[in-house]
């Protein structure tokens, strides 16, 4: 409780200093608007529904794309770890493509899917899929061989060993890969939304883009604030619980 209070006070101070500096005309409000203006924009846009609608659209793109990345990435990673052939082909491809910032897919996505949701999904999937695949592969490789040997003496074979030993044993790696995949997906979606105008719906990135076009810096900063907030929430609600669960199980907590 005390910690939370301290955090809140620290941030309140920061905002107060910011407001103070704007009031003292330290810089032109065109360059960096006051927090009050940003707040006003946020409240207005919540009232007229644009912000919530844009957030919903963005979250839908992200959630679906990420889920597909996860469902494809896990088996692909296992495949790479299991078979030498896939390691030499798919593994190499994944390693190479992973270094590619996924907005680079935007031109192709536009060409293939047009200005549609599908293009957005594609970019999100490309952003998350490869890092999840590679993390799963790394996780499997780091499983101590003695776990599988012990399972085999107890009568476990093939698929069963993979399902009940290799997969859970690689969970710490897989989860950190999922987290990285999430971060990549989030970044690539924002870049794509700013870069591409999709006719089927306006996400947060598009709102930010229009803020810039209109020279409405309070809108730009307000949207940035929302983006940060969503990222934080995802981390705290989605990944922290899993990580805490694992720390408790594995005994790796500090």
């Amino acid at each position: 409780m005390k910690r939370a209070l301290k955090t809140i006070i620290a941030f309140a101070l920061l905002v107060a200093v910011w407001e103070g500096l704007v009031l003292a005309k330290f810089w032109s409000p065109v360059l960096l608007p006051s927090p009050v203006d940003v707040g006003k924009y946020l409240i207005d846009s919540i009232r007229d529904g644009t912000l919530l609608k844009a957030s919903a659209i963005t979250m839908k793109r992200l959630g679906l794309g990420y889920a597909v990345g996860l469902v494809l990435g896990l088996p692909l990673g296992l495949l790479i770890a299991r078979f030498r052939f896939f390691q030499d082909t798919l593994g190499l491809l994944a390693l190479g493509v992973q270094t590619l910032p996924s907005v680079c897919w935007a031109p192709l996505a536009l060409l293939w899917f047009g200005q549609t949701e599908a293009a957005m999904f594609f970019i999100v999937i490309m952003g998350s899929l490869w890092s999840i695949t590679l993390a799963t592969d790394a996780g499997v490789r780091n499983v101590p061989p003695i776990y599988a040997r012990a399972a085999r003496t107890m009568g476990s074979r093939g698929w069963h060993t993979w399902l009940t030993v290799i997969l859970p044993a690689s969970l710490p790696f897989v989860v950190s890969g999922m987290k990285q995949g999430w971060a990549f997906a989030w970044r690539s979606l924002m870049a794509a939304e700013i870069y591409i105008t999709v006719l089927t719906g306006f996400g947060l990135g598009q709102l930010l883009h229009y803020g810039r076009e209109l020279n409405a810096m309070e809108q730009v900063i307000g949207i940035m604030f929302v983006i940060v907030l969503i990222g934080l929430l995802a981390d705290k609600l989605l990944f922290s619980p899993i990580e805490r669960f694992m720390h408790r199980r594995w005994g790796t907590a500090k």
């Binding site: 889920a67 996860l70 469902v71 896990l74 088996p75 101590p144 003695i146 776990y147 040997r149 012990a150 399972a151 085999r152 003496t153 107890m154 009568g155 476990s156 074979r157 093939g158 698929w159 069963h160 993979w162 399902l163 009940t164 030993v165 997969l167 859970p168 044993a169 969970l171 609600l237 989605l238 619980p241 899993i242 805490r244 669960f245 408790r248 199980r249 594995w250 005994g251």
Partner: protein, 308 residues
């Protein structure tokens, strides 16, 4: 607090379902397993090791880990393999388990050649090899779940029975990392015993423990063995441990790994570590061991002289 707990539950469930979905094809395979049935006090198995050899091509050249090792073990016998570090004891144990194939020779279990690992021959490894993502009960249940034709409640009953046997009934739901080294090895023992194997292969299971815990476990192991006569092959490099536990002590020498001597230990059970008779046996074996080591050293020196 409530809300946090709730969210955690929801997301954990969401993710487990997601992970699960990616693996449906694997599951369908699972259903096809588990066909044979044998449970209830299974008879011990006799083992015949027939001129087994194994060489490793390590970074420091060829290592002749086992050279034409032959050994017969009666059903229900408690045999200790004793020898200096690196003489191939673990290698032999893994071959008996079916985890690694020999280069030549074979292992027969009740007359049938061992071609792979199986739950008739359970292994207790040098490290505990427990699964950290399962709790104590889950670890013991793992092997039982692979035994066909057991109901859920039967499995739980068996697991609880063995956890009680090793004195851990209070730690059924503990995480693995919350256990001490000795407790971990007890869980590993329970896990190895629970599927009721016919042979128990133990690779220095108590080496990392303190003397007091170890002595306690010697007592437990002898008691369990007295009740359910399994064939036990116990690897150790501790002479007193070997004499305390074994009906027979097999002495190994190094490079190449070879059997040098057999000692029958005709002492009444249960044996305490501190009896005078035990000390006599230990002294005799110790002497022989030192002799062997000296000979090995002599041969090494000779080699050095020969090589200039």
């Amino acid at each position: 607090m409530e809300l946090k707990f709730f969210c955690r539950e929801i997301f954990l469930r969401f993710f487990s379902i997601l992970l699960f979905l990616t693996w449906l094809p694997g599951l369908s395979y699972l259903r096809t397993m588990n066909t044979e049935f044998h449970y209830r006090s299974e008879p011990a198995e006799k083992l015949a090791i027939e001129s087994v050899s194994k060489t490793f091509n390590g970074r420091s050249g060829k290592v002749h880990a086992l050279d034409q090792v032959s050994l017969n073990i009666k059903e229900g016998e408690f045999v200790c393999l004793l020898g200096p570090s690196g003489c191939g004891k673990s290698t032999l144990l893994n071959i008996i388990a079916g985890l690694d194939p020999p280069d030549s020779g074979q292992v027969l279990a009740d007359g049938k050649a061992v071609t792979g690992p199986g739950r008739e021959r359970m292994v207790m490894f040098q490290e505990s090899a427990l699964y950290p993502w399962l709790d104590v009960l889950g670890n013991v249940l793992y092997g039982l779940k692979l035994k066909p034709n057991l109901t859920r409640s039967e499995r739980r009953k068996v697991a609880h029975f063995y956890l009680k046997l090793v004195g851990l009934e209070k730690f059924v739901h503990a995480h693995v990392h919350e256990l001490s080294g000795g407790m971990k090895q007890r869980v590993a023992l329970a896990r190895a015993l629970a599927p009721n194997p016919r042979v128990l292969l133990m690779d220095e299971p108590f080496a990392a423990l303190d003397a007091m815990t170890r002595e306690q476990l010697y007592g437990d192991l002898q008691e369990i063995w007295g009740k359910q006569r399994k064939t036990i092959v116990f690897v150790t490099h501790n002479v007193r441990e070997a004499v305390c536990l074994g009906d027979r002590v097999i002495l190994f020498s190094r490079s190449p790994g070879k059997i040098q001597d057999h000692f029958d230990i005709a002492l009444p059970r249960p044996r305490g570590m501190n009896s005078a008779n035990l000390a006599n046996y230990a002294a005799a074996i110790d002497e022989r061991l030192k002799e062997l080591l000296k000979k090995e050293q002599g041969e090494l020196n000779e080699l050095k002289v020969l090589n200039g």
